[in-house]
Symmetry: C2
Subunit: 238 residues, 2 copies
């Protein structure tokens, strides 16, 4: 019986991981964080994607939401709303203001605790380092180091080492989308925009990388199709 815990934001990367994990694990548990992020809409979308995935894969998915108010720490455009999300910037390897201090460290630590409770030692996440914004807490050496800390610092780790599984780590955004499509991913509710409005801004790092990824992969973005369809439906039924 293979069990895993997926850190599931409801974005494109973790949606890909969800469909991937459903093909490889007997039991898939998810944890979603409400960290008082600007784009808290992703949480609502995450639930919609889980519904979709259950129906497409005909498999149960356990969902757990954890609330942690990182706006109390702030220091990021995603958790301090007085800081603007940068638009149309040249995405280089500098760490941008959308970096949330040690966010993945915090999410991983809480996930390790929850996994320990569930007697799970496989933790999956959508971290990747090619088409990304230079966040240090997405890199393989960080993940390996955290894996060791989790193994050393838990009761479960004394008998069973933790695995931190990053199926997307070396993939470009277009390859992530292709991998998802291979596993029948439906991105209709996979939300990416940092601004948090239902209609994506199209100009933040996240929107730019996503659009480029879909174009390169040669797929249309399910999310945009859904938006277009629902807007057409609204218009035809005034």
């Amino acid at each position: 019986m293979k069990k895993c815990l997926l850190i599931f934001s409801g974005g494109l990367d973790s949606t890909t991981c969800l469909f991937w994990a459903l093909d490889y694990y007997d039991e898939v548990h998810t944890i979603t964080f409400d960290y008082h992020q600007r784009h808290v809409i992703e949480k609502k979308m995450a639930l919609e994607t889980i519904k979709l995935a259950k129906s497409i894969k005909q498999k149960d998915i356990d969902y757990f939401e954890f609330n942690i108010d990182l706006s109390k720490i702030g220091a990021s455009a995603l958790t301090d709303f007085s800081i603007n999300v940068p638009k149309n910037r040249n995405i280089d390897n500098q760490i941008p203001i959308t970096y949330v201090p040690f966010r993945n460290g915090i999410f991983l630590a809480i996930s390790v605790a929850y996994a320990e409770k569930l007697d799970i030692s496989n933790i999956i996440g959508g971290w990747n380092v090619l088409d990304y914004s230079g966040y240090p807490d997405c890199r393989p050496d960080f993940l390996e180091s955290f894996r060791q800390a989790a193994t050393l610092g838990t009761k479960i780790g004394q008998t069973k080492p933790f695995n931190i599984i990053a199926p997307l780590i070396g993939l470009k955004k277009s390859e992530i989308i292709k991998l998802g499509k291979k596993h029948n991913a439906d991105y209709s509710y996979a939300y990416s925009c940092y601004e948090g409005n239902e209609i994506p801004c199209g100009q933040c790092d996240s929107c730019i990388l996503r659009a480029k990824g879909f174009e390169e992969a040669g797929f249309v973005d399910d999310y945009m199709v859904r938006l277009a369809t629902s807007s057409k439906e609204t218009k035809s039924h005034p």
Copy 2:
């Protein structure tokens, strides 16, 4: 200008660290966690100890409280109130039911984020491994591993490695108390009991280790003196 962030529970160990740090650092910041613990009284006590320390050391202390509801995860007698705190048990090296899954990993991760915001790379905590209850997330190899993860996974870590400083790590409880007394620690409000009542139960691991520590160190416990004095005062002014 030497700055540090102290993970301050308000217990005996972190109170020792507070008085120690005030002698070695120019600027002392503290972070206290309300994790919906059974003994949430320690939070109130922590504030009293900070007041005392400010007055004894004539130095400012920055205080930050962070709320994270670990009862949502539970799986410990300290966060799931349906599980009883073990009493008068033989304290061996088995991990007891008062172990909170990866608590120090979670506290450290949040502290790293807060330290990064304050541009601090020295994090101090009262972890120790001699007279303790066998918690895996107190051990030196865990702390070293976490230090590496914090350095690799943060923006600040790219230019300045984190230090995780554990001044008590190799000390017995009696030596911790002696170290504190050398730095003029006042333990009148340093709270230890797992049960969370103002009058300590005297039978949980934490009470037992504390009493043994004071006895071996040859000091009276300031907390008990304060309780006795205030109870006498109450009696004489009915």
